[in-house]
Amino acid sequence: MYTDKVMDHFQNPRNVGEIPDANGVGEVGNASCGDIMKIFLKVEDNVIKDVKFKTFGCGAAIATSSMVTEMAIGKTIDEALELSNQAVAEALDGLPAQKMHCSNLAADALHEAIKDYKARQQAG
């Protein structure tokens, strides 16, 4: 049911882990729907220098998390805010229909992390 790209990202996820000194952290999903994604950002000069993720979820959730980190790295935060869940799914050559809604949240997590970064900047 999964494309080769999904399987690749699922089996060899990129950028797994935490960034101890992250300056933006976002979390979406909740346990009851079976998917929790957490994105850690290191932003410098409005550019995403490093991203890492931790995900509790199905194959699609892990693959989209991995893919979104690859897509976000090197982008400005404004560019990264343009990244949609749809674009992530497309970069993976598509996801099974029943996974589109529940497990395709990685871009949302990224946006949350950017929001957190912005909030911290304002607060700081």
């Binding site: 979390e27 346990a31 009851s32 079976g34 998917d35 979820g57 199905c58 194959g59 959730a61 029943q98």
Partner: protein, 403 residues
């Protein structure tokens, strides 16, 4: 790559003897058993022989066996057919909250048509309270439907005792024995059931065939109207090859039952022990006493990781298992069975079912026990719930920590 199949509750390979018995039905013996000529006569006997084989496995008379296309059809027929036939008597059904969707979804549909359904709760081990069952019976109760063995946890229900209660109140009793048949002894007379459903593909017969036992004298409206097949109880040209295969599989299941059950139990217990020993923070789902479960079934939640991702990782090693019932894998809801057992929702998402078959070997279990700990660990490292940095405030961690 190794292929280790531990998903026998989803489906089983066709037994070589079964396939051998079936093949002639696709070649020379292709007739319609309802035909009077040579082509029909050549197979009519084969269908009746299969009926005897099925009957004999479950202690029924051949005339009490009706061939159907799958377990789901049998369950639909038992429930809808009873509601239609006993409309004058009442409209209340008692079942459990851990039935297979073939029973549960049928009940939900029947509710829409005016039936009342009591879904009995289960305890944390997944077991019923029989006093509660007895108390649920009213004047309007026309049917009790309780599965013999649960497909997800393997829990075995006390069918004989429920049969006694059903008889005491003269309520019809149906049991979905799709998972029990071939794994534990099943005797319809001793159990006091009025209807029982089994499915071929769970016991080494092909997919697309099953049977329902209907005790002599049980009025049941057919689910499929049409031709006179099966004494007007199920229309449609007989699936001769499938039926012959089911008959043979039942014969083998009876012949090898004890041997196979002992073999599967030993390996299942080994797997269970091994997991307990080598993987921390797990929760067994189902009755803690392995003897109270089907001998082939083990359901475990590996905290912090989601079931499907574990399945896919195990699959990379050639290990086939399942996360809840295969039939519900189209759903994204965590298993209703674990939900009914009050398993925390994250742990329900983490559940993995290993269901063994007679062909599994000790080496395969060793291999699984080698692969599993590191795979679980790898996924845990990826999980935001594992070694959560602010475990104190994290609600989910809170929940999981209770296991």
């Amino acid at each position: 790559m190794k292929q280790i199949y531990l998903d026998n509750n989803a489906t089983t390979p066709v037994h070589p003897e079964v396939l051998e018995a079936m093949l002639p039905c696709y070649r020379d013996q292709f007739g319609n058993p309802s035909s009077v000529h040579w082509a029909g006569r050549a197979v009519a006997g084969a269908v009746e022989k299969a009926r005897e084989q099925v009957a004999s496995l479950i202690g029924a008379s051949p005339a009490e066996i009706v061939f159907v296309s799958c377990g789901s059809e049998g369950d639909n027929m038992a429930l809808k057919g009873t509601v239609d036939a006993l409309r004058d008597k009442g409209n209340h059904i008692i079942t459990t909250s851990v039935e297979h969707p073939a029973v549960l979804e049928t009940c939900r549909y029947l509710e829409k048509t005016g039936c009342e359904v009591t879904y009995l709760p289960v305890d944390r081990d997944g077991m019923l309270d029989l006093a509660q069952l007895e108390a649920a019976i009213t004047e309007k109760t026309i049917l009790i439907s309780v599965m013999w063995g649960n497909n997800e946890t393997g829990n075995i229900f006390p069918i004989e005792e429920i049969g006694k209660i059903a008889r005491k109140y003269k309520v019809r009793f149906h049991t979905d024995a799709v998972q029990a048949v071939g794994k534990v002894p099943v005797d319809v007379k001793a159990a006091g059931v009025d209807m029982l459903v089994l499915s071929g593909h769970k016991i080494g017969a092909p997919k697309g065939v099953g049977a329902i036992y209907i005790k002599r004298g049980t009025r049941l409206t057919p689910l499929m109207h049409g031709g006179h097949q099966e004494r007007n109880r199920r229309a449609g040209t007989h699936n001769v090859a499938g039926i012959v295969g089911l008959g043979k599989a039942c014969e083998i299941a009876g012949r090898d039952l004890e041997k196979n059950a002992a073999h599967m139990r030993r390996l299942r217990d080994k797997l269970e022990e091994g997991i307990r020993k080598n993987v921390p923070q797990i929760k067994l789902n189902g009755h803690p006493d392995p003897a109270m479960r089907l001998p082939n079934t083990l359901n475990v939640s590996f905290a912090f990781i989601e079931g499907e991702s574990l399945l896919l990782n195990l699959d990379m090693y050639g290990i086939a298992a399942s996360s809840g019932s295969a039939c519900t894998s189209g759903s994204l809801e965590p298993s209703h069975v674990l939900g009914a057992m009050c398993v925390e929702v994250t742990l329900a998402h983490s559940s993995t079912r290993f269901s063994l078959g007679p062909n599994n070997t000790e080496e395969e279990i060793d291999y699984v026990l080698d692969v599993l700990p590191k795979t679980v660990q790898r996924l845990r490292e990826m999980s935001p719930l594992y070694n959560c940095s602010n475990e104190e405030q994290c609600e989910t961690c809170e929940t999981i920590r209770r296991i």
